[in-house]
Symmetry: C2
Subunit: 408 residues, 2 copies
Amino acid sequence: MSKFAVLGYGVVGSGVVELFYKNKEKIEKKAGDDMDVKYILDIRDFPGNPYESKFVKTIDAIVNDSEISAVAECMGGVEPAFTFTKQCLEKGISVSTSNKELVAAKGDILLKLAKENNCNYFFEASVGGAIPIIRPLHRCLAANSIDGVAGILNGTTNFILTKMIEDGMKFDDALKLAQELGYAEKNPAADIEGHDACRKICIISSLVYGKHVYPDSVYTKGITEIKLEDVQTVNKWGGAIKLIAKVSELENGKILPFVMPMIVPFENLMSHVDDVFNAVMVSGDGIDKTLFYGRGAGKLPTASAVLGDVIESVKHDKTVFSQMWDSSENNEFVEDRKKYEAVMYFRVSANDSVKAIINNCGGNIIDESADGICFVTEKMSFEKSEVVAESIKNSGSEVISIIPVLEI
Amino acid sequence: MSKFAVLGYGVVGSGVVELFYKNKEKIEKKAGDDMDVKYILDIRDFPGNPYESKFVKTIDAIVNDSEISAVAECMGGVEPAFTFTKQCLEKGISVSTSNKELVAAKGDILLKLAKENNCNYFFEASVGGAIPIIRPLHRCLAANSIDGVAGILNGTTNFILTKMIEDGMKFDDALKLAQELGYAEKNPAADIEGHDACRKICIISSLVYGKHVYPDSVYTKGITEIKLEDVQTVNKWGGAIKLIAKVSELENGKILPFVMPMIVPFENLMSHVDDVFNAVMVSGDGIDKTLFYGRGAGKLPTASAVLGDVIESVKHDKTVFSQMWDSSENNEFVEDRKKYEAVMYFRVSANDSVKAIINNCGGNIIDESADGICFVTEKMSFEKSEVVAESIKNSGSEVISIIPVLEI
């Protein structure tokens, strides 16, 4: 009999308990052992809850109980989750987490601690919700040199952009709808400004390139400035604007992670990933391209990923699946996003001299109206695109939008 | 130092050797050990090959060498691969295979043998080429009740259908092009008649539902009868015709696997999976829907999957990841495909009385011309659709096509 504890009884934690008891028989068959939830840690009271007798208010009961072999950490936030996780790992109790904030902040430390204590720190649920991405990246694609990973890693922003594309809604209206439907928080900043996606691409970057990448070293731009006009022009041209979190390895050995709105051409399957769904595309020398798609958030989808990890820790409690990466002293291995090269989409206001500038930078006009001119350039660096933007401004024209086109 | 052997130096086997030496340093880091290919088994001679000294012509040298801890079986076909695999497993040597024919025929026996000998029989490469699907299904989604799995599991037929959809090519011309490009064999029967996809859905069904499913118990229909007219009508209506391999669990406890052309509505991401790419969609009670996409065949993509498995066997050579399923005495747990229920697309020749029949079965006419009438029905069983077809024939009209619409 393997007993485990659930830390935090919010959306994800209660989902873990619900899904476990729903599929208990199948789960035990997979784990090769009887299993049960022994404790649920939450500072709140849940009178009348069917699992009321399992609730505890401190971590001590859990880490001092030798029957506990695994923990599901679904608290969110760095503290006290960090302290609790350390206490568990130090006792050799494997921890499976959905807490992207903690993994992005302290993953290197916790993975090292798990290895030292001959147990596992699993974080499949921290990126892409239900989508298996961490284990496939680490295990199934281990024979590849990974050139890059790009994903739609935030469901809220993808829902908003889908509403803009499909229903012609303006950003503010789409955000309001997302809030009404419970997809966006009252304070939506973490989603719409890209910070949530940033944490996730940090975790992927750390895992793939072996060195802890901190969120504050990653250029992050959200979708608050996306205009309906651009969404529609791009749609006609043959692509969809998506909030893309991306990392790639450069020839100089550095890596280039970022989060920003990009144009995904319709030939790329990610352009068809709509609503709250997430997707991650991986490019490697053996696989060419592989894509993983599913629900990136939500109670049961996230619980599914956490529980998958818990089952693996119970089933193979003698095996350390060291998904370790090194700590990083500085950000020197992270390249400046200005070096990133892409075809650039511009929307500028029309004037007499702007067409000559467009011509000069190999620009192709894709839409022209009284409101302005939209064109796409040859592939160029962000650095170069800023020079182009400057010369357009100097000609007296306004640069309304610059959006890079995704290539993976 | 972990040494492994490669059985078969055809497309996949030579890809395994090539990819291993290309990424040797990264692979060893992942495996946590130095690694090398010690033997390559092939009855043919490869004079001048850079690895000439590693070639052997019998399995004895490999199974009697205590240095060998893992084998990559890339021979294809049931024999002698079955005998060789048994010999390896009996010695406690883990085997990773790309051989779908063998897994579909003898998977239950080989998995049991691996477990008895405390080693692993891995087969990630046997389904979906580069796409991680076996490990995610088995491990990451372990907390789910899986309602069903549906996939585009054959690249050749998907290429042919894509050419019909996008370039208006007829089946015969698209097949010829696929042969010219090396995507289809001279004798293309295994692909276009669905047998290759059938083996793969058998492997998935066995893994997910825990009982060996034999190819001859699975209804299999290929794409040879697909008409360009239907491809185009369906495309206008809002979907793509794809060769779908599918399995689902029914309320009566039986499973229903089959392979046949189906209409995939554009809302389903699989409708956008084109060319030689494969995709697998999994539906479960925790995840809702998850999709895995990538190259389903080819030298390096398949080698990537085989090598991923080899790395895992080397890294965790004390751990048995028993992905076992039971042997099956009979096919009684496999439901007849006539029970399968779907919205059905019909193309029939027009006559005076046919519209009344269409009306009677809740049919919706989606296209009408001198050539015939196309309509979609309400959801009905195949059994019922055959009754409808019969009454249409009795009315003097010809039933040209019946294609079910995929729902997952």
